[in-house]
Subunit: 317 residues, 2 copies
Amino acid sequence: MKIVSAIKRVPGDIKERLQGRFRDAEFYFCHGIEEADRYLAEADIFLTYGEDLTPERIRKAENLKWIMVMSAGMDRMPFNEIAERDILVTNVRGIHAKPMAEYAISMLLQVSRQAKILIEQEKNHTWNRRPVMTEISGGTMVLLSTGAIAQEVARLAKAFQMRTLGVSKSGRKKPYFDETYTIDDFEQALSQGDFIVAALPSTEETVHLLKPEHFQLMKEDAIFLNMGRGDLVETDVLLNAVRNSEIRHAVLDVMEEEPLPAGHALWDEEQITITPHLSGISPHYVPRAFELFEENLEVYVSGSGDMMNTIDPKRGY
Amino acid sequence: MKIVSAIKRVPGDIKERLQGRFRDAEFYFCHGIEEADRYLAEADIFLTYGEDLTPERIRKAENLKWIMVMSAGMDRMPFNEIAERDILVTNVRGIHAKPMAEYAISMLLQVSRQAKILIEQEKNHTWNRRPVMTEISGGTMVLLSTGAIAQEVARLAKAFQMRTLGVSKSGRKKPYFDETYTIDDFEQALSQGDFIVAALPSTEETVHLLKPEHFQLMKEDAIFLNMGRGDLVETDVLLNAVRNSEIRHAVLDVMEEEPLPAGHALWDEEQITITPHLSGISPHYVPRAFELFEENLEVYVSGSGDMMNTIDPKRGY
């Protein structure tokens, strides 16, 4: 069995652990797709970030039985060719939950505790205890999404003794949520939130889901945070909401235009904080992805148990 | 029964709630001690921040049976006079736990996630995803103290899936700590910490407890945070520790000299973050203090149950 990886810079200890544990397999750890191309024709299993797989490569990899996508987004996967050959696909769905939940809590604390002002005071050698800090503990958090990432945020929010309201298509109950709402009646939830955290993918239903009237429904001192997709809300709707003081602050890790160009109005708006789409970045990404792969490989080799995060190539998720 | 309060700006809803619940009591809500002085001679119960009580005032308050100190520090209380008259004293010990725990988590996230750099990038309209962020989840936290504040920090740390090591005089086991150490063997704990959080009071044993060798024991990428008392460590010891890269960063809410004067070396040290002794400040302080008072008053009036946070005037704590 030949396992070909196109993942760059795999740490040595991970390679050794895999080779030690799966002695019957031959591993080819390649530095990117060009190097991996050489081994693709014989590969049984291929590890990729999913952006480099073309229909040609799928045809060339005639032994291929399983593609492990070390990413959660799979927009560029040639699913038609994969489905025809009935190749198994798994991904690392959920891997962003931990860093993104830390991001959300971190940014809500940063805004609530006036970090920008305190850092400015430090720079100016100013000892001033008057900036009014609020606590996040005991507040109400509304999460747009009840998926893996939103659940991890809600779990931390519960540790801060918050009330957690989740919004999803089905409104089905999910762990760590005190209440759940469907997208059809989510206005009820919005008006209760001290913190509105969006972690939605971009779909037909979510594009421009948030309209001016939704921000008008929110509390005046609510903090809105978007770390899902930028097309959830139009830039002008956001700018108007903070300029009209409909909300206290907006934290945006994603926006309609990325990278946000220098000079864009969002950068300088005092009640908006911009981060460059980094909520999911983690130094633990590659180790965590390989842990998922390793567990799946054990199932694949032993034939017992269920593989995690399998994807239906016909549906693409 | 006459209840005199010297606490300024008590919210109206708190006054109404107390008067509604304890109809046999006469409440005098005064704006500070000067106004309260008028009623002190008849007071059965006196509410104070504890800084304005002189021996003369204790003598004047000849009916006084109970002093509720709406503060945790009681350095200026005339305990001799209070002990002579056998006046009951209670305080709001533990009230700082929630804001201080939020402060600690907030600052550890701020440093780990490079907030200063990201805020600077935002100011310069720079879209740059390369600043290396680390996660706090899964790390090891060493807490100097296992008291109420430290326990609340440890509780949140457990939600971030950290290992929590506590250091106290006795080394006794406490909730939310995976391991506890005595001050005599705390070096063992120090060397394991990704985060070293100090929340110790100033006592004979804690003054200059942390010496240069302790910082040398710490991990090179450890973050040290002090929100207890500034005399835990000499300023020069701290400056040397960060300048010699013995630790990654120091977060100081307390220091030897407060307020820290402009021009002091601590302000400009890149690997030190200064906040102006505000970790315990909370907009919920007064409501929380009155909630504690209210529960104690219920016990006092009904004669059933135990009062919380009673102080032995002979020992002062």
